[in-house]
Structure formats: C-alpha cells, structure tokens
C-alpha cells in the first residue's frame, strides 16, 4: 500500500468543512484546495485519501479534480504560479507578447515549471482585472499593466 500522504493538519482542515454542507461530496473542492495549498498539487494517493474522508469512490473525486484545470496532479507546481491573462482586454494591450516574452526568457511553455522549482508559467483566461490590462496574477499578488521590463523585474523578485 502506498504511503499515506495527508497530514493530520490537512485531515482536520478538511473535516472542519463537513458541517457546512448537507452532503459530504460538497467538501470535494475545499479538500482539493487544502491539499493543493500544502503540496502544490494533488497526487492520486491524496485523491484516494480524500475520498475515504468524504465517503466517496476515488473516481468521484478524480472526476471532479480532472474537470478543473487549476489542480495539478503529476508533479508539484513551482513555488510561484505566474498567471498571465490572455483574454480579450489584455490581448488588446499586448498580453500575447507578454506571455511570449516570459515563455522565451524562462524557457518554459505555459504549464511548465523552472528546473529549480521556482516558477510555473501559466496562461489564464480573464482574471477580472481588465482595467489593469495586461495583468499577471503571481500567486496571490495582482500585477497591473505589466510591461516586458516589469515582467522581468517580477521574475527576478520571485524567491
């Protein structure tokens, strides 16, 4: 049997959500978020353990996980996920060039992580900050009206 992956802390955090909903299955997304925050991805073994807690078949959890592009499964995302918006308002103000620039300088395709595990480059659909186009969400920080030079600065500042 594979080694257990969820820590007591994660399990407690997941269980704390159960009273909020009339069904345990509704805790699926909160549980995936909790695991993702700790492990930066949700490996299959975690899916199996979440299913145990929520009294579901692992396939039910996996089905949900696979629908949402947000959760990685194969390997952890970098310490900073850099989401570059590519939707219309940002595209009109140079988002494609910005994404191409970051892709070139980091030698990454969107979805890939730097070898040092520092940065995962991602494209995003509208980040809901179109007045600041083109914009980037780097983990929890929104960067507004980002030029290529500012993007370089941002990349440098990520630890």
């Amino acid at each position: 049997m594979a080694d257990r992956i969820l820590t007591a802390e994660m399990i407690d955090a997941i269980k704390a959500f159960i009273p909020r909903y009339p069904s345990k299955q509704a805790v699926t997304l909160p549980a995936l978020h909790i695991v993702n925050e700790h492990l930066r991805h949700v490996p299959l073994q975690a899916v199996v353990e979440i299913a145990e807690i929520l009294e579901l078949h692992p396939a039910q959890v996996q089905d949900t996980l696979s629908f949402y592009g947000y959760f990685k499964q194969d390997k952890p995302a970098g310490r900073c996920r850099v989401w570059v918006c590519r939707s219309i308002s940002c595209a009109l103000r140079g988002a494609d060039q910005l994404l191409a620039h970051l892709s070139d300088t980091l030698h990454l395709q969107p979805g890939e992580t730097t070898p040092d595990g520092r940065i995962t480059l991602e494209y995003a659909e509208c980040l809901g900050a179109c007045e600041h186009a083109p914009c980037i969400l780097a983990n929890n920080d929104l960067h507004k009206s980002v030029s290529s030079e500012q993007a370089d600065e941002l990349v440098k500042s990520i630890a």
Partner: protein, 450 residues
C-alpha cells in the same frame, strides 16, 4: 465627468472601506434592520416593485425569480451568491468585494431573509485572493456583530454564510454549473426545467443571484423603490416583453480607452457617452472600430453604432445578444478582427464544459479554423463554415444545454455580419495562392503561444 452621484461605488476608494467600522459610519446595516422589521414577502414585493433585474448577465427580474420558490416548502431553501465573475471584460463584482464587501453581504442577508433561505453559499472564483480575504473577514465581522448566525438582531431569523472557492472554470458562473460545482462535481450545467428555484443545490429550492444584484437589493431597501425607479429607463412601449431597465449600473470599461475602469451610471447611457465622458475617449486619438457592449458573449458593435444605449434592451437592437455584464471593451481602428475573433473562440473552446457536442466541437473547430486563417492558410469557404457554426450552436437554436454556446456564437455571427469584407481581404492577402481552395485542408496544430 457626468453629474450622477455614485451609490454602489460611493465607498470605493475610501480608506479602510472594507471594514465594518467604516461601513457602519455611513449607515451600514441600517437597511438590514429595516428589512428584519418587515415581512419577508414585503421585502420581495419591494424588490419586485423596484423593477430590479439581475446584474449577472441574463437580466432576469429579481423579485419575480424569488416568487418562483415553492410556497410552504418544508425547506431548507438555499441561496447561492454568484461571485464567479469570469466573463472577459468584467470586473465590477471584484471591485465591490474588495472595496465594499459589507454592502454585498448586507444585500445578501436581506435577500436571504426575503427568500427565507437557511444558508448562503458565497461562490467566489479562486483568482480573487484579495476579494476572498476581505469578504471572509467581513463575514467574520458580521458574526461578531450579530448580523449573522442564530437569531439575527433578535429577529428570530437565523442565517449562515459559507465561503466557497471555485477552481478556475468559467462555466461555474452558469447557475446550474455553479450548483453542480458546489455539490463537489464537475460543473456540468443541468437541463432546465427544473429551475433552481424549484430544485437546485442539494435538490432543494435555491436562489442564485449575482454580487451586484445583492448590492442593489441593499440600496433599494435603504433608499426606497421610488428612488430606484427614478434612475434608468422605463419599458419600451413597443416591446411588450421589456421589463424596463431601472437603477444604477456598474459599467466595466477596458481595452483601447484612455481611462479604463469601473464606472457607475444610470442604465441607458450610450456606449459613446461611456467611452467619452467616463473613459476619456479612445486612446492615442484613434477611432473605435468595434466595441463589445457587455462582455465578449454579447457580440460586437461597429464603430458607427456607438449611439447604442447600454440598457437591457439596447444592444439587442444592434444585432448583439444583450447587455450581459455591461463590460464594454473598446477596439481601436488598428485592431484586426481576425485576432479578436480567434481570441474569443479560443476562450470559449477552452471553457466549454464539453457536455453538448455542438458546443464542444463547434467552438474547437472554429478555433482551429481561425488559427489556420490567422496563419495565412485561410480560404473564403471557411467563413461560410464559421457562419454555420455561429448559427447552429446555442440554446437559442436549441442545440445546447446552456448559454455558453450562445456566447460563443454571437461574436462569430456579429463579426461575419459586420466585418466580413475585412476578413475576406485578410484571407486573400495572406493566402494569395489558396484562398479560393474548396477541398478539405488539414488543420494546423493548435498553438498556445507565438
């Protein structure tokens, strides 16, 4: 700047506007006290009488929606606040949630009281970390103050608000997709009927409303029905189905304008007014070639259609789908429509939930064709195929479960109706040897960037 005094945005930009202390200084939670002193059905009547229509995209009358809940149901009734805001161009909910979360929460509590909901799920997209943090803190402040929890302010009414985070899927904004997602499943919209009011979250009667709608509810209770009806436009007498467009609206202005931003104005201002009087005009002294009137799903206005009024009825008169989220995106005269259309189709093919074949295949084939055209391998015949896709996917022709496909179809349709000569010229110019080809051609590999 026009002389309309913002109401929904009145607190935005003030120091600490997201805290309960500041919110209460400007009369916050007085509307809740007032509502709790009324009968729930009288709150519903007030909202009905105000003519408030949902701000999330469909413009359905809010009070009327609430009356669809079954009478004398044993319960529980659930309320879902739709804060999934992902329509490209739209950011008004984010601004409310970041800078005035209590206004939204007060409106939400009043709406729950009116509908006698037992619990509210506040479904927020996960790309809004600041809004999530401030709203969660505001909810906690409400429990401390007795605005939430058991026996709110001694009224006998009890309510819990639970924050629930999405995971990066546009379709979770569709109300039944949201419900499925809330239940822990893939966000596959449900066939309606039954509508959520009859059978929604956890198979119980459920109301789904938008964040801005909730903020309007709070203002209606505070300022009265007459105030709300004094703003906006009355029903069009020549259109018996029009319910009017009352109240203030948050317009999101972005793209090629000098001052992009979220502006509050009475429903019914024209696109031109919004761009010139609020947005400082098209940037670089250029002219607008095309304008999205209400989020990309709504289609496109041409540069000479900017007298279009931005009320629930206006964009429809110009061949667009509707007012949508009132997200106005301006494109200057240097913009290539092929780029706009490719961007739009790529978005919808990325976000299609994949349940309905016409939507899944239509959006992805349109994207493949547009990518090919963009890279100089287009044929005139492709435009006919695109037009066919535009005409055949969506709830309107009756081939799909939800409105995402209509949203994908409208930019295609409008682009072909209004900008076909430009697309033809592009194809002939970039594919001088193959534009008249009619035999099938292989698709290019889809490229994510470059």
């Amino acid at each position: 700047m026009p002389d309309f005094q913002p109401v929904l945005l009145a607190n935005v930009g003030k120091p600490d506007s997201h805290t309960r202390r500041v919110y209460e200084q400007t009369g916050g939670y007085q509307a809740l006290r007032k509502a709790l002193g009324m009968q729930p059905k009288d709150v519903i009547e007030a909202v009905k009488a105000s003519g408030l229509r949902g701000r999330g995209g469909a413009g359905f009358p809010t009070g009327l929606k609430w009356t669809f809940l079954p009478q004398n149901h044993p319960g529980p009734i659930y309320f879902c606040l739709n804060a999934d805001e992902s329509e490209p161009g739209t950011f008004n909910n984010r601004i409310l949630m970041e800078d005035d979360p209590h206004q939204v929460i007060e409106g939400l509590i009043i709406s729950c009281f009116a509908t006698q909901a037992r619990a509210a799920y506040y479904y927020m997209r996960c790309e809004y970390p600041l809004a999530f943090q401030r709203t969660s803190a505001a909810v906690a402040e409400c429990y401390e103050a007795g605005y939430l929890g058991q026996n709110i302010l001694g009224s006998g009414y009890s309510l819990d608000i639970y924050m629930h985070r999405g995971a990066g899927a546009y379709i979770c904004g569709e109300e039944t997709g949201l419900i499925e997602s809330l239940e822990g499943k893939r966000a596959w919209p449900r066939i309606k009927p039954p509508f959520p009011a009859v059978e929604g979250a956890f198979r119980k009667p459920t109301v789904v409303n938008n964040v801005e709608t909730a903020a309007c509810v709070k203002q209606i209770i505070e300022r009265g029905v007459d105030w709300f009806k004094s703003i906006g436009v009355p029903p069009d007498p020549s259109n018996p189905r029009d319910a009017g467009s009352y109240g203030p609206k948050l317009y999101c202005l972005s793209g090629h304008v000098n001052k992009p931003g979220c502006y509050e104005a009475p429903l019914g201002i024209t696109c031109q007014q919004l761009i010139d009087e609020y947005g400082g005009g098209v940037w670089k002294g250029r002219k607008a070639k095309a304008v999205i009137p209400g989020g990309i799903s709504m289609g496109l206005l041409k540069g000479d259609e900017l007298h279009c009024p931005l009320d629930f009825n206006g964009p429809g008169k110009f061949g667009c789908l509707g007012l949508g989220t009132a997200a106005v995106v301006v494109m200057d005269d240097q913009t290539q429509m092929i780029d706009v259309l490719e961007n739009s189709c790529r978005f919808f093919s990325h976000e299609s939930c994949g349940q309905c074949t016409p939507c899944r295949e239509g959006t992805s084939w349109a994207t493949k064709m547009l990518t090919r055209i963009k890279h100089g391998k287009g044929r005139l015949k492709d435009l006919d195929l695109l037009a066919e896709i535009g005409d055949t996917i969506g709830i309107m022709p009756g081939t799909t479960i939800c409105g995402l496909a209509d949203g994908a179809a409208w930019p295609i349709k409008n682009c072909l109706q209004k900008f076909r000569p430009e697309l033809e010229e592009y194809i002939k110019r970039t594919n001088p040897t193959g534009w008249m080809e009619t035999k099938p051609v292989p698709a290019l590999q889809l490229q994510t960037i470059h």
